[in-house]
């Protein structure tokens, strides 16, 4: 079975392997309807990672949305009490308006959400599953971890909010220290805060190695708790072989209206953009469920067939050519399939199909055909 799964294109293989991984860690599959009431998404627009919701009227005239997001639906429908843990995984398509082309886009996603009591063990579990998910795509991967407390605290201490906050976050996200320094000076930001922001934007490296530098950025209870959280993750993951691939980079600051603590971003070598994104989103959980934490991530499967093409030289293992059908023919094909081979039955060799073996079925027996 594993051989067959390995032979599948990446975008078909991954949902199977990731589903198995998430099930093994006790996550339940969550299936959602393609359509939900538009009002639900528009009420929670701040928490959506996109503005482009595809909406339409149903036969009763109600405005519906083609699902732009899965997390919102999971948070709304999870039935567990806030002090317990609810674990869900999904394997769904979402529909959004593409930012660049403004066309409707179908995006394949697999992911997990853990709701309720997100304690230190649950946090480390999600990070571990993030690492393991990336490993399923490529052994050469990096999971970047970040925490918004450090930048939030620096900006709060300086009383920077609104447009100024947005501007500084933009500089940090782009690792654009030169413009940030100039802009901060022009806008009269205190030198100590500028130094702090520069340090935040430059901290990057293996989690364990950068912890001492991170400790220097602990200035209050919030940053102290964030440091302890990251230190806890470091200790929990240290024993795993892919520990080196867990890196800290505080310039990862995606979607800050949504995430409230740890942020995750995953990269694999052949994909030019991140393939995993997630984080802690307690404010959404609080708004919809009233209490409890929430932590999850999504793996983006789109484009992975392009960056990780199926390298198999052949489209199938065996083509059996036959003139006349009889019951033994299907039996012979079935035996090969049971032995793990991909088999095609054809009258003649189909155009464009590459087979590692071509057999001819004559009078109840199979003979090799020379190419």
């Amino acid at each position: 079975m594993q051989k067959f799964i390995n032979s599948l294109p990446t975008e078909a293989r991954l949902p199977l392997e990731l589903s198995k991984l998430y099930e093994q860690f006790g996550y339940q599959k969550y299936c959602m309807s393609k359509f939900e009431e538009y009002g639900f998404y528009s009420d929670n627009r701040d928490f959506l990672s996109t503005d482009g919701i595809i909406a339409f009227n149903n036969s009763a005239g109600k405005l519906m949305a083609l699902k732009p997001d899965i997390t919102l639906s999971i948070v709304k429908n999870a039935r567990t009490l806030p002090h317990l843990k609810a674990r869900y995984y999904y394997n769904e398509n979402v529909y959004r308006i593409a930012e660049d082309t403004h066309d409707c886009k179908e995006i394949k996603q697999c992911g997990i959400e853990l709701l309720g009591d997100v304690d230190s063990v649950a946090t480390a579990e999600i990070v571990l599953l993030g690492l393991k998910s990336l490993e399923k795509i490529d052994s050469n991967f990096n999971l970047i971890i970040s925490h918004i407390a450090f930048v939030s605290s620096a900006l709060e201490d300086a009383g920077i909010k609104g447009e100024q906050r947005r501007k500084i976050l933009g500089f940090i996200k782009r690792k654009n220290q030169h413009d940030m320094m100039l802009w901060c000076k022009e806008n009269g930001i205190d030198k100590k805060i500028i130094d702090r922001l520069l340090k935040i934007s430059s901290i990057s490296g293996n989690l364990k190695e950068v912890l001492p530098a991170l400790k220097e950025l602990v200035t209050d209870n919030k940053t102290s708790a964030a440091y302890e959280e990251l230190e806890g993750i470091c200790k929990a993951i240290e024993g795993f072989e892919f520990f080196e691939k867990l890196r800290l980079d505080l310039s990862v600051l995606n979607h800050l209206d949504y995430y409230t603590g740890i942020l995750l971003q995953g990269y694999v070598e052949n994909s030019p953009s991140p393939v995993l994104s997630g984080g802690r989103y307690d404010s959404l959980a609080k708004k919809i469920r009233g209490d409890g934490g929430a932590f999850g991530f999504a793996v983006y499967l789109d484009g992975l067939n392009l960056h990780y093409p199926n390298k198999s030289e052949y489209d199938c293992d065996t083509v059996i050519l036959y003139d006349k059908s009889d019951s033994a023919l299907l039996k012979a094909a079935n035996e090969l399939c049971e032995a793990g081979k991909k088999v095609r039955l054809e009258h003649e060799m189909p155009e464009g199909i590459r087979a590692s073996r071509i057999l001819k079925y004559i009078n109840g027996s199979l003979t090799e055909v020379a190419e």
Binding site: I144, R174, K175, N176, H178, D179, R247, Y267, E269, P272
Partner: protein, 208 residues
């Protein structure tokens, strides 16, 4: 091996010399031919010579690990990239220019001719001024002269072209220079090499 997208032209030549001075030499690049890809495995570098406005696209899609692009191109395309260093080369400004006697009519939208519609929109949106964009690909200065637009939004280096066409700068709003950019994935996997390249470039620029 690090792949660098270099802008073709004068800026590219300056940048290449800078890279060569810190050990990323690729002498083949001086050969008189039409090749667009040059490689020096010994120095671990490959150069792609591309149109300046395409550098960010090559880097964004991972065809190049790093590249050199003007701030104007970066702000216009808005792609998610790291902007690691200001090379302080090719310095100029994004400006609003119009005919010498231009007077804004506040009762109607301003017609803006530009190669940079996103930058122009963002600029006018910052003070809620309604505009109408006329996207052009070159010779922008003609637009106000023939009544196609009220103003232009374009990069101005010396202002000579404006002067010769009876135009003047009414507003300077975005300082522009060449930036070293990096693909996010490439930076993640080649951080040490890119960081070291960056600090050597910075040192070379300071010594200049």
């Amino acid at each position: 091996m690090i792949t660098v997208a270099l802008p073709k032209g004068r800026l590219g030549d300056k940048v290449y010399n800078l890279f060569a001075s810190i050990g990323y030499d690729c002498s083949e690049i001086y050969d008189d031919n039409r090749k667009l890809v040059f490689e020096n495995p010994e120095n671990g570098v490959r150069y792609l010579l591309v149109k300046p406005s395409d550098v960010a696209v090559y880097v964004y899609h991972g065809a190049a690990d790093i590249g050199i692009a003007g701030k104007d191109i970066l702000d216009e395309c808005g792609l998610s990239l790291y902007e690691l260093l200001d090379l302080k080369l090719g310095k100029c400004h994004m400006c609003v220019a119009a005919q010498n006697d231009y007077k804004e009519d506040p009762s109607r939208p301003i017609r803006v001719a530009t190669k940079f519609p996103n930058i122009a929109k963002k600029h006018y949106m910052s003070f809620n001024r309604e505009i109408e964009i006329i996207k052009l690909n070159g010779s922008i200065e003609i637009a106000p002269l023939v009544g196609l637009s009220d103003v232009i939004v374009d990069i101005v280096e010396t202002g000579t072209t404006l002067k010769e066409n009876n135009l003047k700068v009414f507003e300077k709003f975005l300082p522009i220079s060449a930036r070293l950019i990096a693909n996010r994935t490439s930076y993640t996997f080649h951080k040490d090499e890119i960081d070291s390249l960056c600090s050597r470039l910075q040192k070379a620029l300071e010594e200049k």
